[in-house]
Amino acid sequence: MSSERVTLTVPPRRSLATVWLVATLISVLLLAVAGRFEGGRDDVDQAEQRVGFLDEGSLPIPAAPVASGLPASGRATVVLFLRPDDAAHECREVTRSVASSAAVVAVLSGSATCAEVAGVLVDPAGRTAAAYGMRVPIDGGPPVGYAVVDDRAMVRYRTLDPHPAAHSSEIMTVLAGL
């Protein structure tokens, strides 16, 4: 009876080793596979993407002007960094979600429709993105994401985000935290 009880409470050594091996295989496999889901517009370092807190690294820094006198003191501004292929959708949806809390301007890496925002800057050379410290995505192309500028015209948050509109609630959370 006592040996049965011991068998139930302390598994055999071979079973314990099997548990570790299976856990190792599953964990390594899952982590490796998950990494393959990152797209070309994601950050090379996922730890740097959508960190969720203000003033990371060298921030805050003064915000470079984009368009229509924005960003400016007095009101928070969301600066979108977009590529032409999805600019229209992202501009429309982000503006719809955050316009009540902040001005929205866009920096485009090429000409595109972006009618709803307060101002648009076409900057194929990427100087504005560099001034905001936007990181280079996996595919090496222009950054897609956004920066959040506070009402003193200081950049407080910046991140690559291939789909800013899909995460507009996060932008609202960051704005609420300013």
């Binding site: 040996s3 011991v6 068998t7 409470t9 302390v10 598994p11 055999p12 050594r13 071979r14 314990l16 080793a17 548990v19 570790w20 856990a23 190792t24 964990s27 390594v28 899952l30 982590l31 998950a34 889901f37 370092d45 996922q46 730890a47 993407q49 959508r50 960190v51 969720g52 807190f53 203000l54 789909h163 899909a166 995460h167 609630s169 996060e170 609202m172 959370t173 960051v174 609420a176 935290g177």
Partner: protein, 142 residues
């Protein structure tokens, strides 16, 4: 109830908590995936599990027997580690004090990122399993 019924039902009754733990983790992964945040699920899962396994190892060494419901401990620690993400979903931006939740912010920035935490988790798991093995009475050693 017949003896056969007991034998059939027994494993399911014993392992109900295993199923719950796995389903909770799958649900959490699906939620993070839905927010394009798989990276963060791995970080907090590995950190939480490693912390739980460290505690479990200490408990085994003290009590000289395996902990009850071992899958629940890492799951609960994972929930604790990720709690600031629930606050973020509720509209609260991350702040420094949230590092109280097993280093919720800082843990993302260790060299090697999630691969480092995977190694820590596996080391903690190995330590726990060795402790369990050593808790075996000498008369029952393999």
């Amino acid at each position: 109830m017949t003896a056969a019924a007991v034998r059939v039902r027994g494993p399911w009754l014993v392992c109900g908590w295993c199923v719950i733990a796995v389903l909770v983790e799958l649900g959490l992964y699906a939620s993070y995936r839905g927010h394009d945040a798989r990276f963060h699920w791995f970080t907090h899962a590995f950190v939480g599990a490693a912390a739980a396994l460290a505690v479990m190892t200490a408990v085994v060494l003290i009590r000289r027997r395996p902990v009850p419901r071992p899958l629940l401990w890492p799951m609960i620690a994972h929930l604790f580690a990720m709690a600031p993400d629930l606050l973020f979903s509720g509209g609260y931006v991350h702040r420094g004090w949230m590092n109280l939740f097993l280093g919720h912010i800082r843990v993302h920035f260790v060299p090697g990122r999630n691969w480092t935490w995977l190694a820590v988790f596996l080391a903690a798991l190995a330590a726990y399993l060795v402790a369990v093995d050593r808790a075996r009475p000498a008369s029952a050693a393999a």
